[in-house]
């Protein structure tokens, strides 16, 4: 994949993990470039984060997702490095399958289950930013409206009532589906973060909304410029 000439890299290196069956890794790497950082490819079988400043777990069907989405990826060697690093504050963004993996790895609460209607859904949806304080959402303002695609078969976020209450009470819902969740997510939750705000999971795909030529908008780019800003001290 060529690099676009008009972008000037700042000194931010963001890892993009490729598991067997990862599909949106190229797209996540492109979004990192569009945001002005350097994408670093990380391999599932390597116990090595290559000194990156942040990590993205991209969408796809890791290991085929024949068991439970993300259930096998969670045990891969790279996750053995990533989990303690995330607990120590390394910014991590999980998109779709990446969100599923973060839940399986217990870096985020809850789980993603089969869509209401039991069919795969690909659609452009409207989102509302509800937490613009995290490392991955600071380029937005609270209440901002975004149009970003969803594409998932198991995207219905579920958690027990106490956890959902806790997520809402502590502002850990990062984005919500504005017009209701097509996939049946509890309380229209589209994305959440951990207590520290460095680990974010999103069911929608912001990497597919970085250029109106290939997506419904460029609204998703903010997740990637957020982290670049947070890491360079320029944003937030």
């Amino acid at each position: 994949m060529g690099q676009i000439s008009q972008v000037h890299f700042v000194d931010v290196r963001i890892g993009v993990v490729t598991f067997p069956g990862s599909l949106d890794d190229t797209d996540a790497a492109r979004a990192v470039r569009y945001a002005g950082a350097e994408p670093v490819r990380l391999w599932h079988a390597d116990r090595d984060l290559r000194g990156v400043d942040a990590v993205i777990l991209p969408g796809g069907f890791s290991y085929g997702d024949y068991l439970r989405c993300g259930a096998i990826a969670r045990f891969s060697p790279v996750m053995g490095e990533l989990v303690p690093a995330a607990q120590a504050g390394l910014p991590v963004l999980g998109i779709c399958n990446g969100f599923q993996i973060l839940c399986e790895a217990h870096l985020l609460p809850g789980a993603l289950t089969r869509n209401a209607g039991l069919r795969f859904i690909h659609a452009d949806v409207r989102l509302t930013v509800t937490n613009a304080q995290t490392a991955w959402s600071s380029a937005y303002r609270a209440g901002q409206a975004l149009t970003v695609p969803i594409k998932n078969g198991e995207g219905a976020f579920v958690a027990d009532e106490a956890t959902l209450d806790e997520l809402e009470r502590t502002g850990r819902v990062v984005v919500r589906y504005t017009d209701g969740a097509l996939n049946g997510s509890s309380r229209d939750i589209a994305g959440i973060c951990n207590e520290a705000g460095n680990v974010v999971g999103l069911m929608p795909h912001p990497e597919h909304a970085i250029d109106p030529l290939t997506g419904p908008s460029a609204d998703g780019l903010g997740f990637f410029t957020s982290i670049v800003g947070a890491l360079t001290g320029a944003g937030a």
């Binding site: 994949m1 060529g2 069907f61 069919r119 690909h122 290939t214």
Partner: protein
């Protein structure tokens, strides 16, 4: 018997009765095999010949006609590899080449819709992969029985879920295709899958086994008992009156898209390492086909030790191993010194790989199993197969069909009747919103999809910096082809060509999937011959090469064949996808212009079919020169930034094009119709398009159209939230939307 049926035993026991008929071979074919070998075949050899000589693999009934599609010099200017290779390769400039092909998976998709359709995607993707290309997108052309027919409720959701499951998990954007309904497909749904791949010019791979001593490696999934005889007993025979689904279900393959994804990445890394001499995908006829075709394409023979083939079921007989169509397998020819590196790359991707034999210099394909020789044949005799010149006869009922034209059908003349007809068409299953289907497909993965369904043509970016892209469309119209297969095929070609042109791309190459009934019926063979002749003449007139194709015969149940349904795919090159045009009205106050000439042509039209359940008369006239000029005008206008939208006119004519342009763009228009309102709205004259012009550029655009002799009729202007046909009727967009979106969810849930 098959356990011990070695070459020696076969030579000594000529009297043994063999089940060649059950395997789909005729008496003559069986005798021919005995003649070639000078003895009776072993059970394994019989299995091998039965699949290789099946209609599906050998094209024995269609070959004499397909020769007409070979491009001449003028058509070949974009071509790097043509018919005969696994798929044709087209030069698209800037050092890039593209390969694309469409293939049927009709019979399996009827028997087991989910896996049948899923493995259709898997198979065509491996075809493209075997050319050395990275698969970058897929499309599906789907045809089912009436939407409300009982069996469609089983077949359609299964097919769509299979495509969704396999394609999404494989990570290839599904960028478009077709969805059509007609009672003729109820027992024979058509599931045609297209894949397009991208490579650099020097990455082209070939399916040949050269160099004696080179190793033959089988890699990917293990060989199991699924899909045994899929090519012969399933794809090359008609279904009985009972449908015969249950008995043939074991002949359907089972797909594992995750393994296919690993196989794709593994192959691309093997190509990059430049350690492969030849490569072949395993599709129809599995190991039998891959070994014979690799050996036949090379300069010698091949010896295979079947005991080394990794099996999912150790009890498989040699015949079953050869005929198995287990998915996600490839076969490569590798120099001995490269085998270690080959294996290392396979290990990295967790892909099982096994050396199963080597290339020999004796012109013989030899296979050993448990110490004895069970196959010993000249490979070209299996790979080439018989060629039939089957009898042709113009269908007896065709004159009557063409004579019973649509002229006598009651036509609305006044506003309310025209409005009702528009809404009836817009809400008919074939023209209604297809999101029930397309929402189940990922069209965005890989991040280069610029246009996807429901746009006329799909558009994929190839060069991120330069904006180079490719456009693709598939079209077919079985109703037109029933009335006149020659003209109907040219209309399908013209529509796909026009759809590609609407994006602003230049059409450069053609592929095809020819879906017909039984070749043993002279009327069907006549339809096939006429369709191929129409395609060949059409491609010559447009200056486009046919880069490959696929034939699916025996799409009939009992004596009832489907409509002859050639599906034509056209590939275009877009210089700069940032200048793409979409079908929806994109700006307010833009002049709405109809390009092309409209005549009263209703034979085979959507109006006749939907409103009157009528099929008769002649399809619209073909004018390929007009198609060419139309494409040139739209292309030049797109490059110059003169147009805000472009939408081709096809099924349902101007009425449907106007409604779609309003719905896609979310804005209305006010238009006045020239001449007879009914003809203006519902005629399906070809070589027409509906465009809207960027405000301020009207005179430039009019001059451009005039320069190329393309009639341009100003109809009105985009405005408001109502489709207004002056003096006739108005429909609010909300009503259009309701009618358009309600149909498929109401039927399929």
């Amino acid at each position: 018997m098959s356990d011990k049926d070695t070459v020696e035993v076969a030579a000594a026991t000529p009297e043994v009765t063999q089940p060649y008929k059950e395997l789909g071979l005729t008496d003559d074919e069986y005798q021919k095999i005995r003649g070639v070998l000078g003895r009776r075949p072993t059970a394994a050899e019989l299995a091998l010949y039965s699949v290789m000589w099946s209609e599906h693999c050998s094209y024995k009934s269609s070959k004499v006609h397909l020769r007409n599609l070979a491009p001449d010099a003028d058509q070949s200017r974009y071509l790097l590899a043509g018919i005969g290779a696994n798929a044709g390769v087209v030069d698209i400039g800037q050092g890039y080449a593209v390969t694309f092909k469409i293939e049927s998976h009709n019979h399996p998709s009827f028997v087991e819709p989910h896996q049948g359709a899923a493995t259709g995607i898997g198979g065509i993707v491996r075809d493209i992969l075997a050319m050395g290309a990275r698969p970058i997108a897929v499309m599906d052309a789907l045809r089912f029985g009436a939407a409300d027919a009982h069996d469609t409720a089983r077949v359609l959701p299964g097919v769509v879920s299979g495509i969704s499951f396999y394609g999404n998990c494989l990570g290839l954007p599904n960028i478009g295709g077709e969805l059509a309904f007609d009672p003729c497909y109820v027992g024979n749904p058509l599931v045609n899958a297209l894949c397009v791949g991208l490579m650099r010019h020097d990455d082209l791979k070939s399916a040949v086994a050269t160099g004696p001593g080179n190793k033959v490696v089988l890699f990917g999934s293990r060989t199991g008992p699924d899909g045994v005889g899929g090519a012969s007993v399933l794809a090359s025979a008609t279904f009985g009156e009972d449908g015969g689904k249950a008995a043939k279900r074991p002949s359907v393959q089972v797909g594992d898209p995750f393994m296919e994804k690993l196989l794709v990445e593994c192959c691309l890394e093997l190509y990059a390492a430049d350690i492969i001499e030849g490569i072949q995908d395993l599709g129809a006829a599995g190991v039998a086909c891959a070994t014979t075709e690799l050996a036949a394409g090379g300069d010698g023979g091949m010896s295979v030790d079947m005991d080394t083939i990794p099996l999912r079921d150790p009890n498989l007989t040699p015949a079953e191993i050869l005929m198995s169509e287990s998915q996600e397998r490839m076969m490569a020819v590798v120099r001995p010194e490269h085998v270690d590196a080959f294996m290392a790359i396979c290990r990295k991707w967790d892909v099982e790989a096994t050396v199963i034999g080597e290339v020999t210099d004796d012109d013989t394909l030899t296979m050993k199993w448990r110490g004895a020789t069970v196959v010993q044949i000249p490979p070209r005799t299996a790979a080439d197969g018989p060629v039939y010149r089957r009898p042709l006869a113009r269908p007896e009922n065709l004159d009557a069909l063409q004579a019973s034209g649509p002229e006598r059908l009651a036509r609305p003349a006044e506003g309310p009747g025209l409005r009702a007809a528009l809404l009836q068409l817009l809400g008919s299953p074939g023209l209604a919103d297809k999101r029930w289907v397309t929402q189940q497909y990922d069209s965005r993965v890989r991040g280069n999809t610029v246009l996807a369904a429901p746009e006329d043509g799909a558009l994929v970016r190839v060069g991120e910096e330069t904006g180079l892209g490719i456009a693709l469309a598939t079209d077919g119209n079985g109703r037109y082809c029933t009335l006149d297969p020659y003209r109907g095929t040219q209309l399908a070609l013209a529509e796909a060509y026009r759809n590609v042109a609407m994006t602003g791309a230049v059409p450069v190459a053609v592929t095809n999937c020819l879906n017909f009934g039984s070749p043993e019926d002279p009327a069907v063979m006549w339809q096939l011959a006429e369709a191929v002749r129409g395609l060949a003449d059409g491609c010559k007139a447009l200056g486009l090469p046919v880069t490959g194709g696929n034939v699916s015969l025996y799409n009939q149940t009992g004596a009832t064949a489907i409509h002859p349904t050639p599906v034509i795919g056209v590939l275009g090159v877009h210089d700069d996808v940032r200048q793409r045009l979409a079908a929806g009205f994109a700006a307010d106050g833009a002049e709405v212009v109809l390009l092309g000439r409209t005549s009263p042509e209703f034979g085979g039209s959507a109006w006749a079919g939907v409103v009157h359940q009528h099929l008769g008369g002649l399809p619209p006239a073909v004018d390929l020169d007009a198609e060419r000029q139309l494409a040139i005008v739209v292309n030049a206008a797109a490059a110059a930034g003169l147009l805000a939208s472009a939408h081709d006119l096809s099924d349902g004519g101007l009425a449907i094009a106007l409604a779609e342009a309003c719905l896609y763009g979310g804005r209305g228009c006010a238009v006045a119709l020239p001449g007879d309102s009914f003809t203006a709205l519902f005629s399906e004259s070809a070589a027409r398009a509906l465009v809207s012009v960027v405000p301020g550029r009207e005179r430039e655009f009019a001059a451009l159209a005039a320069e190329h002799g393309v009639p341009a009729t100003v109809l009105g202007v985009t405005t408001g939230d109502t489709l207004t046909v002056e003096g006739a009727f108005q429909v609010p967009l909300t009503e259009l939307e309701q009618v358009w979106t309600g149909t498929l969810p109401a039927i399929f849930g």
